[in-house]
Every structure is written in C-alpha cells, then in structure tokens.
Amino acid sequence: MRRVRLFVTLLACAGLIVALAAAVLDVAGAAVSSELPEQLRASLERSGVEHPVTAVLLNFRSYDTLLEIGVLVIAGMAGISLASTNSLEDPALRSADSLLYALQRWFVPVMLLLAAYLLWAGAYRPGGAFQAGAVLAATGVLMRLGGLPMAFIRPGILLRLGLVIGFAVFLLVAVVGALMGEAFLAYPATMAGLLILTIEVALTLSIGMILLALFVAAPVTDEHEPEEGAGS
C-alpha cells in the first residue's frame, strides 16, 4: 500500500514536471514583447528613485508592498501571541561560548553599519528595506544568543509599536496622498524620493523587529486557553 502510494505520487510529480516544462518551452517560444519595460523606463524619472526594482516595489506597485508588510506584521503578531512574558528572557537559551562573546563585539557594529548601507544603497543599486531589515534582525539574533539584554523585545507596548511602526508610516504616507486629492498611495512627484526614504527607514526597523520577534517567540510556555465548550 505504502509503495503504491509512493509510486503514484512520484509518477504524478514527474508528470507535472513534464507538463510544466512543456508549458514553459511553449510560452518561451510564443512570448510577445510587452510595452511594460519601456513604460517603466519612461516613468522612472517621476518615481523618486533611480533603481527600477525599488521604484516598482515602493512606487508603481506599492500596494503589493503595503500588503506584504501587512503579511509580515500578521506573522509577527501571531508569533508573539503564542509566546508569553517569562519565556522571552529564558537564560537557558543563552550561549556560554566565549568565542561568540569576543566576536560579537566586532560583528554587531559592523552589521549595523551594513544594514544602514543596504538601506541607503537601495535607491540606486540592489538593496533596500527588506535586506537591511534582515541584517538588523540577524544582529539581534546574535545579540540574543550572546546574552546581551534587549528589554524592548519583551511583549509590551514597545514591541508592538516596533512591529507596526513601518506599516503605520507607509499607510500614513499612502493616505496623505488621498487626502490631498490624488489617488490612494500616490506620492506628490516632488517629494516622492523623500517619502520613499522615510518609508524605507521605518520599514527597516519594523522588518528587523518582526523577524527578531519571530525568532524569540519560538520558545513556548504551558499556558493555554481551554477548548470552547470544555467547561464540564
């Protein structure tokens, strides 16, 4: 029975690969050249940044990015909803490795610098808020493993504020455009660059915070809610 299941599944997946490969080759032969890249080049000047990927992410398709940050906030929030206060300061999770302590002093400042560079570079070369936020989170993970105290990561108003600040700033910028009589998420052309930079800085902080919170939230507690209707 088990071998039959294995065989059927493998056969189905092989069939999927063949069908997909045929479809990809078919599409590659028939693809039309769309006017999208040209349109993008023409509009790049008005977007406020020089790097096309950042322009697409934070201006042309900024609604996607807004919702994407929303997804991150949901994950972070669901993560910390499962953790509880005391577990976040669990001393058993600290590493006692002396090499780590020594390296940490060198790595943390360099990593913070790297995060700042990535953020700044996003305007004209590969980089940007998410990359910078990920480095920031990695710094936090290193600090936590080394046992540096990080009071802000305890579940409290500070943590929740940190989770949501990037999203909130993005949303505020989005709605200001709408209140000034333009479309939702439209930036005034003259200020687009500055606004995008503001959003990116706030996003970097939040993304770093969310990823770090998810890392820290993984340990668990015994407290839980009884099932609905399990009173008697």
Partner: protein
C-alpha cells in the same frame, strides 16, 4: 475608495497597540465607518456604473488597478455586514481577560482588508498577496490561544493554504511569461486562441484555488479548522474566507474560460462540486460535534458554487447570466446563513458547556432564541422559500434546464433533502427531554440577537433578490476620472 482600503489597515495597526477591551471600542467605531464607506461605494456604483481605480495614480500594466463593478461592490457590502456581525458578537463572546485575545482585533481587521483587496483586485499578483494576507490572518485566528488541537488544525490549514497559493502563483508566472502583464483585463484582450501552455496555467490556478476553497476531495483541512476555532472566527472563515478564493476562480473562468476551458473540464469541476454536496451533507449528518456538523455543511454548500463552471461554459448569454446570478445569491445567502449558524452554535455551546450534539438535550427550553436562529439559517441552507437559498437554487435550476444539463437538478434537490436531514438531527437532539440536568448558562441578549438578525437577512434575501441582482448587471466604464472616485 481610499477609505475602504485605508480603514481596515489603519484599524489593524491601531488595535494592535490596545488591549482587548479598548480595542473593542475602537473596532466598533471602525466597523461603523467601514459599513458607511461600503454603502457609499455601493451607492456610487448604483448611480454611475462600475469604474476602475488606479492605485498611486499608475495605470495598469505599470501600476495596480482596482476593478469596482456591481459584483465587487455587492461582495464588499456583504463582507461589511457579516464581518460587523461577527465583530460585534466576538466583542461579547471572547474572554476579555486572556492576554492573547488582544491580537483578535488586529487579525480581524487584516482579514477584512484582505477580503476587500480580493473583491476589488484586478491584478493577478496583487490577488496573490491579498490571498496570503487572508490565509495568514485566518491561520493566526484559528491558532489564537494555542492549545494542541487548534495548533494542529491551524497547521493543516496553513499547509493547504500555502500549497494552494503557490499553485496559483505558478499559473500567474506562466501567464506573465506569455503576456508580459499581470492585469486580468489586458490578458483577456490579448488572448486570441487556445494554447496548451495557457491551459496548464489555468489548470494550476484553478487547482490551487480549489484547494483553498476546500472543494471535494481537497476539503480535508476545512472541518478541523472551522470546527476548532472560536465561533465568531468560524463564522468569518466559513462565511467569507473560503469565498475569496472561489471568487478569484470564478473571475478567471468567466474572463478566460470561454477560450481556455473545455466541456470536459467544466463538467468534471461540476461533478466534483456535486460530489461535495452529497458527501459533505452525509458527513455533516454523521458528526458527533455540533460545530463539525456546521463545518461539513460548509463543504456541501461550497459544492453548489462550483456548478458555476458547467452552467456558464458554452451556453447562451442569458443562461450564463442566470447561472451567475444564482451563484452570487448562493454566496450571499450562504455567507449570511452560515455566519448565523456558527454564531448560534457558539451560543448553544456556551450554554451547554459541551461541543457534543447529544449534550443538547433539553436546551430548547433555555435557549429557544438561539435555536430558532439556527433553524432559520437552516431553512436557507435547505433552500425552502422564501429564503435566499431558495431563490439561488431556483435560478440554478432554471439555468441547468435551459442549458440542457438536467443532471444538476438531481444534485440540487438531493442537497436540499440532506441539508434538512442534518438540521433536523440537531433539532431532534435539542428537544429530547432527559431531565437530569438544568444547569444551563444564559448568554447575554445581544449575543442571541446577532445570529437572529443574520438569519432573518438570509431568509429575507429571497424577497429582495431582484434589486440585489440588478447591481450585478450595471455597466462598467473603462476609463473613469480618478478624482471623482474619492470616497
């Protein structure tokens, strides 16, 4: 427009900073705003027809455009009604003392934002992001509290939802590779004839969305997730969330299906839907737990929706319109009735302190109001006049006879009989006189009123089907002035 998108997202971030009680007050204010904005948008569409709205002022294909038409605005309004009811109910129902309940409100608002994003979305990739927003918020709501059974259900749900989304995204990747655009309208324009690669893309997208909608035989994840969640959450999930992925599948089918579909594909999707009706109802009849009955009933009711595929493929225009109207009515009436049913079931569970159907004995004396709401919602699910369910099935019946596909009539009739069977089973259990226990808890009046209102709406929908459906056929302007769309 901006208000509709902004409010849920803003309230999500605001309520994250507050605890459950303060979040409740703030959220109720937000619900009022959201209902008003939805009504205003509905009115605007009634007045001047549908329009498209370019976000950030960038038109498709460069930017993301929203499509505001009669169908979308009907669903926005439906979402506002059902979500408000669930939110009000949750405010009283959930235990405010538990520290994790504060996360209910932000998750609730993110869910609402994602739903509005799906109804209005016209961009294939944006629909993917909205779907993921909905899935993750829904999983978070199921897992809230974090006991083992809920975690298990949440994980199953998460895996199913993620696999479904990726299958959809793979289809999107093929379409983007072929057409170089993500706008559904532009793809529709450029699609001249059937190509095998595009059929693969459509099949992938439909399969992924069917998994997320819990179409038989991919429904395994739904009953545990909907059964274990808190009742207001179950109501949201069953009433609205599963409809989001169905809505995208239906939009794809109606736009691209005439060129990429085949009679074989349409009939087999319809057959799966029919199997879901029969199998889901049968399992609902056999479940020992009250909420599992309601959850399996969702599997059955979702089956009806997939009759859209055979009934709109290669049939005359009026027949196709009839089927679309029938399915829309079915979505609306099921959303209202199922939300009412879950909320009423939550009241019953609160009262008898047990999830089992056989523990209901004697509850008819103590909670007649909630039981009555449950029954009224059941009337709509069975499809008895004058309910919305009846109007929907009547339209579908006409559509299947007019298109010569008489075999679906049997499914519609059998489904109604089976629905009657599982609803009456609950009634039978609750009227039993055992007499050994009168230890019932009385939930507050407001908890009992909300499911009643929803059930009455579902029941009355049949009487006002005409005006509701008239919005669907409003004209759609291709070019609209963005400035006028400021609501």
């Amino acid at each position: 427009m901006a208000g509709l998108l902004f409010t849920p997202l803003a309230w999500a971030s605001l309520s994250l900073l507050l605890d459950f009680r303060k979040g409740r007050c703030v959220s109720w204010l937000g619900m009022v705003i959201q209902v008003l904005v939805s009504l205003a948008l509905w009115y605007a569409v009634m007045e001047r027809g549908g329009f498209s709205y370019a976000l950030g002022g960038w038109e498709a294909p460069l930017g993301i455009a929203l499509r505001v038409d009669g169908l979308a605005v009907t669903f926005v309004l439906l979402t506002a009604a059902v979500a408000t009811a669930c939110g009000l109910h949750a405010g009283f129902y959930l235990d405010a003392c538990k520290p994790w309940q504060r996360y209910f409100w932000p998750l609730f608002w993110f869910l609402w934002a994602g739903l509005n994003g799906v109804w209005l979305g016209a961009d294939l990739f944006n629909l993917y992001v909205s779907l993921e927003l909905i899935s993750l918020a829904a999983v978070g709501l199921v897992a809230l509290g974090g006991e083992a059974a809920a975690l298990r259900a949440a994980l199953r749900y998460l895996f199913a939802a993620l696999l479904g989304s990726l299958a959809y995204l793979l289809g999107v990747a093929l379409l983007y590779g072929r057409f170089g655009t993500l706008s559904l309208a532009l793809i529709d324009e450029q699609l001249a004839s059937c190509e095998p690669a595009l059929i693969v893309a459509l099949l992938l997208m439909l399969a992924g969305l069917a998994l997320k909608t819990a179409l038989f035989p991919l429904h395994g994840w739904l009953p545990p997730a909907h059964g274990i969640a808190r009742s207001p959450v179950s109501a949201l999930l069953s009433g609205l969330v599963v409809k989001a992925s169905f809505y995208i599948a239906a939009r794809l089918w109606l736009e691209l299906g005439d060129r990429l579909g085949s009679p074989w594909l349409a009939q087999s999707i319809g057959a799966l839907g029919a199997a879901a009706v029969v199998w889901g109802s049968w399992l609902a009849f056999r479940q020992p737990h009250l909420k599992q009955v309601v959850a399996y009933s969702s599997v059955a009711q979702i089956g009806y929706l997939f009759l859209l595929f055979p009934l709109t493929f290669a049939v005359a225009e009026p027949v196709s319109l009839l089927a679309q109207q029938g399915i829309t009515l079915q979505v609306i009436s099921h959303a209202l009735a199922k939300a009412a049913m879950f909320l009423a079931a939550g009241n019953l569970i609160l009262s008898i302190r047990s999830k089992r159907v056989d523990a209901l004995a004697g509850v008819s004396h103590f909670l007649p109001f909630s039981l009555f709401s449950f029954g009224l919602a059941g009337v709509s699910l069975m499809g008895l006049p004058p309910s919305g369910g009846f109007a929907a099935k009547w339209l579908l019946l006409q559509a299947s006879l007019a298109s010569g596909q008489w075999w679906w009539v049997g499914v519609l009739l059998l489904g109604g009989v089976l629905a009657a069977a599982y609803v009456f089973r609950i009634y039978r259990a609750s009227f039993l006189e055992v007499g050994d226990s009168d230890d019932f808890y009385h939930p507050p009046q407001s908890l009992e009123a909300i499911p009643m209102i929803l059930a009455l709406l579902a029941l009355g929908l049949g009487l006002v089907a005409e005006p509701v459906l008239s919005v669907l056929s409003l004209p759609f302007e291709v070019t609209a002035d963005v400035n006028e769309a400021q609501l």
